[in-house]
Symmetry: C2
Subunit: 84 residues, 2 copies
Amino acid sequence: MLKAKIFVQLKPSVLDPQGKAVTNSLHNLGFDKVLQTRISKYIEINFDSDDREDVSRQTTKICDSLLANPNTETYHFELEEIKS
Amino acid sequence: MLKAKIFVQLKPSVLDPQGKAVTNSLHNLGFDKVLQTRISKYIEINFDSDDREDVSRQTTKICDSLLANPNTETYHFELEEIKS
């Protein structure tokens, strides 16, 4: 079995209003060393397959077709073996 | 400067309805090797400080007080130096 560990992040040029809100809250709570906060999605998908090439191709398709918005987001992923 | 890379994940015992919905969508799209999907938050916070011990303590406080729901979520983080 393989696990795909996928990060879907806003492009650096895109404003992250949720991150901005967290930064403001943290300043209000007294955390004044905080400069910036970026909030992203982290997705783990378990595959019933040990074929790294095939799982990598499927994960790319999944990100392109469902998980990431190509207009505003980028993604990267790594594969990890799951010991069952 | 230091960057805290924080993962906030649902406890394994807690149902992840968003992940279940993604798994179902993927099956409908023909990705039948997908067994399970878990969706989590990944948060990066930049600190204007090089004191790892202090930043680590602040990040723990931030997770406990704002980012993670102690009833349903766990978190872990690592610190990384940012070259400016």
